[in-house]
Symmetry: C2
Subunit: 211 residues, 2 copies
DNA sequence: ACAGAAAAATAGCCCGAACCCAAAATTAGG
DNA sequence: CCTAATTTTGGGTTCGGGCTATTTTTCTGT
């Protein structure tokens, strides 16, 4: 059961999964998400249709395979923040660092991938769902961090505001990516925007959830 | 083309549409959104399957027939705010008024309807989409209201924060509704929560978009 | 080393939503 | 009353999602 077992079974599973995901992403970027059928992916990956839906229950998962990272990143940032730091400052720090390393989690990708996302209603819907789960996770983290009374709406509200900031900046990066701007320029712009957005929230949340 | 023409054709169209929508909503609340097929709705409404999908291109539209109201309400509130009032204050005022009249737009509904929404992934996804369109519309309204430079992220960020507040409160009301609380009690709680949430945003956005 | 257990991959099926088209029924206007 | 426009209908397809029984591959204990 452990992740250490380099058993042949585990290995082949990983290979098969990766093969299917790569094939699917390639086809999606070539012809658009909706235009590619699961059957085509299966054929291209030399695998049965059922195997595809076995590894990826929903078609969207074939294109967005890093959901775990997206949903848990903010909550972990808050949970791991150093003493004396507010949730807002921690998230600002984490965002700027992610921009600097051109992290996909804040929206960096190839222009083709960004266009594929924007062109597909299914994928944008799934992205919204991921943002929502991220908000939920962050709300939980803030609740444990501030131990409020049960009916206090502040943790949920703060989580909504903070993820809203991240979401706005994510869309900004994606828009610039679709416009074909180089990652370096996008990083500069995103940094400036982030300063503005986090500064905007500072008076409201600067003193909230300080460890 | 005018809405005044009480032509027989228009009349029958309205009747048919209403009949289908009512039948669908009844079936959805009885057995859940996903468990009811379009064919069943058609049979129950004594109409062809194609007629249903003709009036309601997506199945979700059968349950959420007030999308226009939801998506435009915030933008109109901001556009119509009196002189000297900030966007935040206008939205606070509109929200509290909506709560007082138990407006569905802020989440008031029957417990059955609220449960139907929460139990259906399709409907919650659609609701997220509506919230998103609402944010877009509000962002447009704020852009025309503040005339910022093209790359200023503030209007989009402010729109995201303000809709985040509304969305949080919406979910709060729906949760209480599912718990079976009477509308009066929900209204009292929602008012208290709203004060807190809008107060939270006041230091950040109190001076933004003042007409 | 091998047989039996466990797990993964396969083939083939059904169902429902969404979409399309040609034909029939209904209404509006001359 | 008759024709044109529009709505409704019936029948069809495609695709995603789901299921089950069966075969193939990997693992484990003797």
């Amino acid at each position: 059961m452990g992740a250490m077992t380099a058993g042949l079974r585990e290995l082949k599973k990983r290979q098969t999964r990766q093969m299917i995901s790569d094939t699917a992403t390639r086809l999606f970027m070539e012809r658009g998400f909706e235009a590619v059928t699961i059957a085509e992916i299966a054929t291209a990956a030399q695998v049965a249709k059922m195997t595809v839906t076995n590894y990826f229950p929903r078609k969207e998962d074939l294109a967005l395979d890093y959901h775990e990272t997206i949903t848990t990143a903010l909550a972990r940032t808050v949970a791991d923040r150093p003493t004396g730091e507010s949730a807002l400052t921690a998230l600002r720090r984490a965002y700027l660092a992610a921009v600097e390393r051109h992290d996909p989690v804040v929206g960096f990708s190839s222009p083709e991938f960004a266009r594929m996302l924007a062109d597909s209603p299914t994928l944008t819907a799934r992205l919204r769902e991921l943002h929502d789960q991220r908000e939920e996770a962050l709300a939980d983290a803030l609740t444990t961090a501030t131990a409020p009374t049960p009916e206090d709406p502040t943790p949920r509200a703060a989580a909504a505001l903070l993820t809203a900031a991240h979401r706005t900046l994510f869309h900004h990066v994606q828009t610039l990516t679709r416009a074909g701007r180089p990652d370096e320029e996008i990083a500069t712009t995103a940094t400036r925007s982030a300063e503005k957005v986090f500064d905007l929230l500072e008076p409201s949340l600067g003193g909230y959830a300080v460890r």
